[in-house]
Amino acid sequence: MKKIKPIRIIIYIFLIAMAIIYLAPLLWVLMVSFKDSNHEVMTAPFSLPQSPSFDNFTFAWTAGKLGVATLNSFIVCAVALIFSMVIGSMAAFGIARLRWKLSKLSLTYFLLGMMIPVHCLLIPLFTRFTRMGLSNTLTGIIIPYVTFSLPITIYIMVGFFEGMPNELIESACIDGATIYQIFAKVCLPLGKTGLFVTGLMTFVGNWNELLLAMVFISDDFKKTLPVSLSKFVGPYNTNYTQMFAAIIIAIIPTVVVYCAFSNQIVDGLTAGAVKG
């Protein structure tokens, strides 16, 4: 029979305490968001709602414009994801597989982008985009999002393409495939894992991006989720229940997706970060 070591117990107690620190705030917000009055929040913030109501969510979703913001976020992230994956893997293929003099140099050029904080691009981009009529449009934030996702996409995909055996391409060549077919039909499917990882990182990063979206978008109906949420505080920061409902709306999609695919997401994101 195996003896349970006391140190084990201490470790588990510690880990359970950690889990509480991580989950309790989220559960608290969820609970408060069902309360039906500010008064109840102020007097009994830690008890279960007396008469749970869904009104706060309806209010945040419609009047708080979080509904349209969720849709906007989805559009922006999905479009940015597709473009960054296509453009990024194309460039990665060009760097890793095609034979030309400046390929190493262009990789360095892309990688420099990882060090550059978005902040110092805000003003030039903003003035240029306003002049081009792109500020206050979803396109206006999709373009920078795609660009900022390129370095990591290219870095990871170059690794994948370089690791593929030469024979694969040679045999495709002998079969008479063009270079575009080799890319699309041979290399890309093999780099699926890489695409998944980068896609995940891109999507999560863009979904949560606040600063750029806040600067570029002023129309309430084009704001993304983090922006609408941050702006929701202004007029309603004394309506706690609605505020809390808004927070829940903002994080629930990510939490649900995370719970469903947590293992893949955690491994994928780590794999990406390890390479980065």
Partner: protein, 301 residues
């Protein structure tokens, strides 16, 4: 095949979209930003940017808020590098040593990393609100009058590093420690078991083997995780913006929020660009530094 891979047209088609986008959306704006930082440029200017040399940088030197922002940003940098390293390693060490519930705990601790910091910032703002939230909880648990006499958390303004900064730094640690933990775990699980077994035979305790085997072997990863942390904490914006907006009285301003305020609240584009350039230079220095000091040579595993 060689001909196929040297096809100029194909190279152009594959590379052009990425290079063009990168050049126009990243490279040229950086240069522009550098130029704007040397200009007097306000949003309402009808004449556009006007070259004034280093005036913006001289003004920065005299700007108290800038120094507070710089101080706070550096505080974040040091705090997050140190605490994330310690907590991250500690958690990674614990989790690699247990069997049951390893994935569960790992996933719980990693969860906030994928959530929006804007939302989490608001959440913690309410938790640290003096009227309810944590003070109320402590009172409910039995400390009389804690709501009235307890700390004001985000509203306190005394000390060199004000209390709100510690609070925000704590929240940042809470949110992002999962990332460091995962990186270290990935690296630790890559270390061959035989190394440990050999050390146990030699009479090493678990703790000793952690310091003598694990630590040296994961050193390159420490460099990676630290650079990620460092750049992340310099760029820090969302949490501060949603928890305090730089207040009270600019005491919790960081470089990013100061830039946002100057650029988009007071419309001083030139001045804000100068802050951006300072931020960029800091990022470059810090990354170079960490890579030089921490990442020495790689050990064979």
């Amino acid at each position: 095949m060689d001909k196929l891979l040297r096809n100029k047209k194909a190279i152009f088609i594959f590379m052009a979209p990425g290079l063009i986008l990168f050049t126009f959306v990243l490279f040229i704006p950086i240069c522009q930003s550098l130029y704007y930082s040397l200009c007097d440029y306000k949003a309402t200017s009808i004449l556009g940017p006007k070259f004034v040399g280093l005036k913006n940088y001289r003004d920065l030197m005299k700007d108290d808020t800038f120094w507070i922002a710089l101080k706070n940003s550096l505080f974040f940098l040091v705090f997050s590098c140190v605490t994330q390293l310690i907590m991250g390693l500690f958690l990674a060490g614990l989790l690699t040593n247990i069997e049951k519930g390893k994935n569960l705990f790992k996933n719980i601790i990693y969860l906030p990393c994928v959530l929006s910091s804007a939302a989490l910032g608001l959440l913690w703002m309410f938790i640290f609100s003096p009227k309810f939230g944590i003070n109320k909880l402590i009172e409910t648990l039995g400390v009389e009058g804690f709501v009235k006499n307890g700390p004001l958390w985000l509203f306190d303004t005394s000390g060199f590093i004000v209390l709100p900064m510690w609070v925000i730094a704590f929240v940042a640690l809470w949110q992002y420690v999962g990332q460091s933990m995962m990186l270290y775990m990935a690296q630790i699980s890559g270390i061959s078991k035989s190394l440990y077994e050999a050390s146990y035979i030699d009479g090493c305790s678990k703790a000793r083997s952690f310091f003598h085997i694990t630590l040296p072997l994961i050193r390159p990863m420490v460099a990676t995780a630290m650079s990620l942390n460092a750049i992340g904490s310099l760029k820090f914006f969302d949490l501060v913006f949603n928890m305090t907006e730089g207040g009270p009285n600019h005491k919790t301003e960081v470089l990013a929020t100061h830039l946002y305020q100057q650029g988009f609240k007071y419309s001083k584009y030139g001045y804000a660009s100068a802050i951006g350039i300072v931020l960029l230079i800091l990022c470059l220095i810090v990354t170079a530094f960490i890579n030089k000091v921490v990442k020495t040579e790689q050990y064979e595993m």
